[in-house]
């Protein structure tokens, strides 16, 4: 009741909040017959611009919190690649009220089984799961990160985190070296998603003043979102959000984000790579795909479900079981704000008679067939059912639900609504699935990477040699 003391505006806000939180949403998702029972999430924005979603899930004994900032790899200035990631590390340097590592120690002391900071291509987020009695803890920690950390970042902290990041990035490079030539061809120098050859050159050379400047322009309330889901008391949690975040003010200048049009596939591109890390021969074919904001998103998701897996009618069923052209087929959709692509990765196995060209032609022929032939009613029903089950299962998990809210907020400005998602799937038409195949899987606009094991040993850390051939 302390919030009543503040102002009349506070009273009205609180009453509205109470009314909203008491609405238990028991809905039947349109066209699905599935009865959903969930408490409607509270969605509001503080005066300083921080966007907040709170959802009570009374059957959970834990609370998941995610705080995100609209700053990611794509905002790294040229020559300072890795800067957003470096800032994420430095945000654990301590704050006015927390010693170095304090944020981590407090979460560990509270028994948090899951927490981390993650820098993605488009945004950075910090998440944690705590016992529901500790809901205030992540709010305190995140308010410290936002309001009181910058003053603690110094040359010593920068030097230390540079070393840590170098190790982290070399480990990532060890695991993902196979993908590097492909990514560098897909997003060349100058593109916001460009990957430099030396993963830590940018963070090694950037100066403290530049780090602090980028940090200050990216980590501000009007560039952030906060999502809290779990066994919480909505009124109390809302009160805590106001207590910790209302006083945080925005600095004068905001980060100017980098943008780029979705990458055009200029024709038939063929990338040939030889490297010691490959075992045998692998083919990776890439096509443009719609982003999650596109109206094609659901039909395209259905198409990916059609192609993936190993069941009847999948690419694997044809290429592996029927034609014996491949040992495995993986289908993966890579979706970011500025660009999305579909990747079909094929292991050609040990039969040396199978050529890259044969497999490329087979895949292109099959994709053309997927564009011509609509899914049958039974197949469409299976696609809907498997998507429905995935959506329901994700919704059960508080941490996943918090991320779903965040992703939907970023895309639509509204919290995630399971019933709406289910309805979108239930209204999916078979024709739309084959239409998106025809529109996006154009054999004249694709990138094909032929990855082959090199003969003999190549020294570690050496450049990967590759050639790109483009046909109009």
């Amino acid at each position: 009741l302390r919030v009543f003391d503040r102002s009349l505006k506070g009273c009205i806000w609180l009453l509205a909040c109470v009314a909203a939180s008491l609405v238990v949403r028991v809905a039947v998702a349109q066209g699905t017959g599935i009865r959903l029972s969930a408490i409607r999430p509270d969605h509001f924005r503080l005066q300083n611009g921080l966007e907040v979603v709170i959802q009570r899930e009374p059957r959970q004994a834990v609370v998941a919190t995610v705080m995100s900032y609209e700053i990611g790899h794509r905002d790294d200035p040229e020559g300072a690649e890795g800067l957003a990631h470096l800032i994420e590390h430095l945000s654990y340097s301590g704050s006015r009220h927390l010693p170095r590592l304090g944020a981590l120690t407090e979460l560990v002391n509270a028994g948090s089984p899951s927490f981390n900071g993650v820098t993605g291509p488009d945004y950075t987020f910090y998440f944690s799961v705590v016992d529901s009695t500790r809901v205030a803890l992540p709010l305190w920690l995140e308010s410290e990160r936002l309001g009181f950390t910058l003053e603690r970042v110094d040359e010593a902290a920068l030097a230390h985190e540079r070393k840590i990041i170098r190790k982290e990035m070399l480990g990532v490079r060890d695991r993902q070296r196979w993908l590097l030539p492909l990514r560098r061809t897909q997003y060349p120098e100058g593109h916001p998603y460009y990957t430099p050859e030396d993963p830590s050159a940018g963070t090694d050379s950037v100066e403290l003043a530049a780090v602090l400047g980028h940090f200050q322009r990216g980590y501000r309330p009007d560039n952030a979102r906060l999502v809290i889901v779990g066994g919480l008391d909505t009124i109390r949690t809302t009160e805590l959000v106001h207590q910790y975040f209302d006083p945080v003010t925005n600095p004068p200048r905001k980060l100017a984000r980098r943008f780029a049009k979705q990458r055009l596939f200029p024709g038939r591109e063929t990338l040939t790579v030889e490297d010691y890390i490959y075992t045998g021969r692998n083919l990776v074919m890439v096509w443009p795909a719609p982003t999650a904001a596109s109206p094609d998103w659901i039909p395209y998701q259905a198409l990916v479900r059609r192609l993936a897996g190993s069941g009847a009618g999948s690419l694997s069923a044809y290429l592996v079981d029927q034609y014996r052209l491949a040992a495995t087929v993986d289908v993966e959709l890579d979706e970011n704000d500025l660009d999305a692509s579909l990747m079909i990765a094929v292991d050609l196995g040990v039969d040396a008679r199978t050529s890259f060209e044969q497999v490329e032609l087979a895949i292109e022929g099959l994709l053309a067939a997927f564009a011509r032939v609509e899914p049958t009613a039974a197949e469409l029903s299976r696609l809907r059912a498997s998507a429905t089950m995935q959506l329901l299962t994700e919704f059960e998990d508080v941490q996943k639900r918090a991320f779903l809210h965040l992703q939907t907020l970023r895309r639509t400005g509204r919290p995630y609504a399971l019933a709406d998602e289910l309805s979108r799937w239930s209204s999916l038409r078979a024709q739309a699935v084959s239409e998106v195949a025809g529109r996006y899987l154009d054999p004249r606009r694709r990138l094909s990477a032929r990855l082959r094991e090199s003969k003999g040993w190549v020294p570690t850390g050496g450049r990967i040699s590759y050639t790109v051939e483009r046909a109009p």
């Binding site: 009695t133 480990g171 530049a210 980028h214 066994g231 109390r236 805590l240 299962t393």
Partner: protein, 494 residues
């Protein structure tokens, strides 16, 4: 001319990267307040809800049925758990092949094979653990009983079709060659072999020669002997009526009897450590060097087990553990230190792993050993103990937060070598552990002579760098596709 070109090139380079503006003063803008000075206290308003209750019944054929009724989610999870049909059996690899074949079709009453196994688009999944196999299916709540019927059909009348057998075996052979690409798995196996003086643990996938020689009779024999009602549990979590589940289970599994006599259990006794041991170096070309420390750990039913679990949590962990504090936050030698206690074929082991740049690797491993010695020799503080217990507690809560999690948790309990040691009992034992228990367990199980060190690294660089760790056994590793052999190729001792 050349100087001019270079100057122009540099100038254009400088011009292309715009300078990054410094921050606007002041750095601290938010007004301070008293409530920000310390961590907020726990709030009783958020007290956790009571755990869901479990109803249990044993069917007339000895099969256990457990039902967790939860009304909130429209998803119901079902699991059929076959104890004794896991990877820790002979012949190696047969458990996985049999499990995968269960999903390839069942024989119906009229003798025809039903190949497409699904309920409303949901297909069952199967996972093979060391101690058993778990078949799971998730459906909307109104379909729970039909799903139960489908699971019973799969378990009781597998088709074991010859064509499906060939495909499943080929896929397993390919998975074996794929698995050979993972250097850390080889490193773990090589470390265990050095620790016990030979290969003593099987693998879920099996060895390629043995799997290639399997026939469908092998699978039928494995199924006939190891899929038995008295060793099976049905677990259902969701918005279902327990009595309806019990009645349906009784009717669907009535008359299920195994076709073969039960196999003799594999002898499980503590393995003696090898006397002549080396640091194992597995040569691989990577940007980092990857280190591993393995120690035998107390089995789950041992009095030291709770204390040891807490000791492992204090030693390693990606955020704030003793080793992470020392190696990452103070020395910047590693990105993370992982620690995990794993049960494998009746034995327990602690694995601690790290990755470091080559120049830091030896110092990082020495620092890790120093932290292990500190855990062994110095008391654990009450704050550290509380921290480890809180983590154990919240992990347990998170592990039962969805219906699928509840089924998995009960399945793991059923498969455990000591079924009376349920998750709740283990949690209670950990809650009761004292700091002396933790230190005593560390002192007994983390003795220097019980630790086995191994690393994935570049031999050309480290050939003379590992002297501080005693004798080194080098293995050459280069993964190969199926048909060309896989795994360590040669070895030399130095």
């Amino acid at each position: 001319v050349r100087r001019s070109i270079v100057a122009l090139f540099l100038a254009s380079g400088c011009a292309s990267a715009a300078p990054i503006p410094p921050p606007d003063p002041p750095l601290a803008r938010t007004p301070d307040a008293a409530f920000r000075r310390a961590a907020p206290a726990p709030d009783p308003l958020g007290a956790p809800s009571a755990p869901a209750s479990i109803e249990r019944r044993t069917l007339s054929n000895g099969m256990l049925v457990q039902v967790v009724r939860t009304t909130a989610s429209p998803v119901t999870s079902l699991g059929l758990v076959f104890r004794g049909a896991g990877a820790d059996t002979h012949p190696e690899g047969a458990a996985l092949l049999t499990a995968k074949l269960l999903l390839e079709g069942t024989r119906q009453a009229d003798g025809s094979v039903l190949g497409h196994l699904s309920i409303n688009g949901q297909s069952p999944e199967v996972e093979v653990f060391d101690d058993g196999t778990v078949l799971t299916l998730r459906v909307l709540a109104p379909l729970a009983l039909p799903a139960l019927t489908l699971l019973s059909q799969i378990a009781r009348y597998p088709a074991f079709d010859p064509g499906a057998f060939e495909n499943a075996r080929n896929r397993q052979l390919y998975s074996i060659s794929e698995a050979s690409l993972f250097g850390m798995a080889h490193l773990r196996d090589a470390a265990l072999e050095e620790l016990y003086g030979g290969s003593v643990f099987g693998s879920t996938l099996g060895k390629s020669d043995a799997v290639a020689a399997f026939t469908s009779d092998d699978v039928s024999r494995f199924y006939g002997a190891r899929y038995r009602p008295e060793q099976t549990a049905l677990i259902v979590a969701g918005d279902v009526d327990p009595e309806a589940v019990f009645a349906t289970a009784e009717s669907r599994f009535d008359g299920w009897t195994p076709t073969l006599a039960p196999p003799g259990d594999l002898a499980r006794k503590p393995l003696p450590l090898a006397t002549d041991r080396h640091f194992v170096g597995l040569h691989i070309e990577k940007a980092l060097a990857y280190g591993l420390c393995v120690a035998p750990a107390p089995p789950l039913d041992h009095a030291d087990s709770p204390g040891f679990q807490l000791a492992a949590m204090l030693l390693g962990g990606h955020a704030v553990s003793r080793a992470a504090e020392a190696l990452r936050y103070h020395a910047a030698q590693v990105y993370a230190v992982g620690a995990r206690v794993e049960q494998r074929a009746g034995q327990s082991h602690l694995y601690v792993r790290l990755a470091s740049e080559r120049a830091d690797f030896v110092a990082a491993m020495q620092r890790l050993l120093a932290e292990i010695a500190r855990l062994r020799d110095q008391p654990v503080t009450e704050q550290e103990l509380a921290r480890a217990k809180a983590l154990f507690n919240t992990r347990s809560a998170l592990a039962t937060s969805s219906n699928a999690d509840r089924v998995e948790s009960l399945a793991v309990d059923f498969l455990a070598a000591h079924p009376d040691l349920t998750s709740e009992v283990r949690l209670e034992r950990v809650r009761r552990a004292t700091s002396s228990d933790v230190q005593a367990a560390a002192a007994r199980w983390l003795r220097a002579d019980r630790l086995q060190l191994a690393a994935l690294l570049d031999r050309a660089y480290f050939n003379r760098e590992l002297g501080d760790f005693g004798k080194v056994r080098w293995l050459q590793f280069k993964a190969r596709k199926a048909g060309a052999g896989a795994g360590p190729e040669s070895e030399a001792e130095e």
